[in-house]
Symmetry: C2
């Protein structure tokens, strides 16, 4: 991602022909100090609303860089409506999971506290920074939103009924997950999905029964091997893409 044409940045400002964009101090530092870009150089900008734009640097300062959007390269497209619910993990695992989920098109990331997890290692601002950087590198047109941490109980109580929740159930002896999810493919009314993976120690028996009691829950099994939580998340996302996505 170091070639001159490849820098992509997600910004908050509106994008349009000749619109001026002022970068955050973090992005200015990255562009000017780290990547050594100067006035006149071009970068690619997106903001999750106005598509992707070629932009020219007007003024390059270490703390405040000003650009002008030049030309739309891609129009905005609706992304997937797919959430990932995950319990806090070790820092390296949660960082890797957020990165990979972003690559695979997740729209919202929901850290949830479960009975066998605690909130060590979850820093929402760090996860949001990883999601932004990954979306920039992977040519996405939006950055997944990272929600504040809640208990799983709270999230389930407040659940939007029309959204199906794919539950990666280690304790279950489920069918091939592809067959389970494909059954939903014919029902065009279901457009909103979420995936739930547990912490390293799994869910408590009570918690598991509570999840399974919800009408919107779709339990699946991810094979006979013991998978770490971040691996389970990527595997589940891959199955979802094969059954219901655009692969």
């Amino acid at each position: 991602m170091t070639s001159k044409s490849k820098i992509r940045l997600c910004v908050t400002a509106p994008l349009g022909a000749d619109k001026r964009v002022v970068l955050s101090s973090e992005d200015s530092h990255y562009l000017v100090n780290v990547m050594r870009r100067k006035a006149g150089d071009e970068v690619v900008l997106f903001n999750g609303r106005d598509g992707e734009w070629r932009a020219k640097i007007l003024e390059a300062h270490k703390k405040k860089t000003i650009l002008s959007a030049q030309e739309q390269l891609r129009p905005q497209r609706a992304g997937l409506d797919l959430w990932l619910l995950f319990a806090p993990l070790k820092r390296a695992s949660v960082d890797s999971m957020v990165q990979k989920a972003t690559e695979l098109g997740i729209s919202e990331l929901l850290p949830v506290l479960t009975e066998y997890s605690d909130s060590r290692g979850i820093k929402i601002t760090r996860l949001a920074a990883i999601a932004k950087e990954t979306a920039e590198q992977c040519h996405r047109l939006m950055v997944p939103k990272v929600r504040p941490i809640q208990t799983l109980q709270e999230v389930l109580e407040d659940w939007p009924d029309e959204r199906r929740l794919v539950f990666c159930d280690e304790a279950g002896k489920g069918d091939n997950p592809l067959a389970v999810l494909k059954k939903f493919g014919a029902n065009k009314k279901i457009k909103s999905w979420a995936l739930l993976v547990g912490p390293e120690g799994g869910f408590s028996p009570d918690e598991r029964l509570h999840i399974l009691s919800k009408p919107y829950v779709v339990p699946v099994s991810l094979g006979p091997r013991l998978l770490l939580a971040d691996t389970a998340a990527i595997a589940a996302l891959t199955v979802w893409h094969l059954a219901l996505g655009d692969w």
Copy 2:
């Protein structure tokens, strides 16, 4: 993995009733210094040949621990015959890829040098240690072998004809990879498989054509998103399991 009953170690010695096993100094250090186990405590051992055994510590020393195998817990089973060929990546990515491939049942790991990659960050002994630790944690009965690094050209020249090589081809506009692989499911003669994922910059055009010219190569596409190499490896492994494995 810290509860008293859960320590699993892969050893090189034969395992059988009352067989004495001398741990390596690394495993002794882990068991005695890190995990604080003492004479009389039990652990689980496997060696990739004789199944899984409950074993009792006879003498616990920091550098040399002696155990006695007591009872077979699981017989040895043939694992998958599935290799992963991957180009060197950044250290964190390659470590994560080796871990996840081990969880997902890979039998051999083959680091390969490609035109757009170099061998920075590939330390075979470190990768072998990660494979061992992951296999121990994930209840596998064998540790994947990590081969010395070779050029992709060398590996392809020396390829066993009956082994199919699934090529994750970023530049291709492939069909749904599940459909491609499922076609092979009916052919029971094909038992040996391998997956190939490229480096961050992909394959060179010449290299790509060279790969595609081989009769044993099965090209697949992993969807419209730009995936980092370690994510592509896990996604490809998941597809393989769904099409040809035991999920």
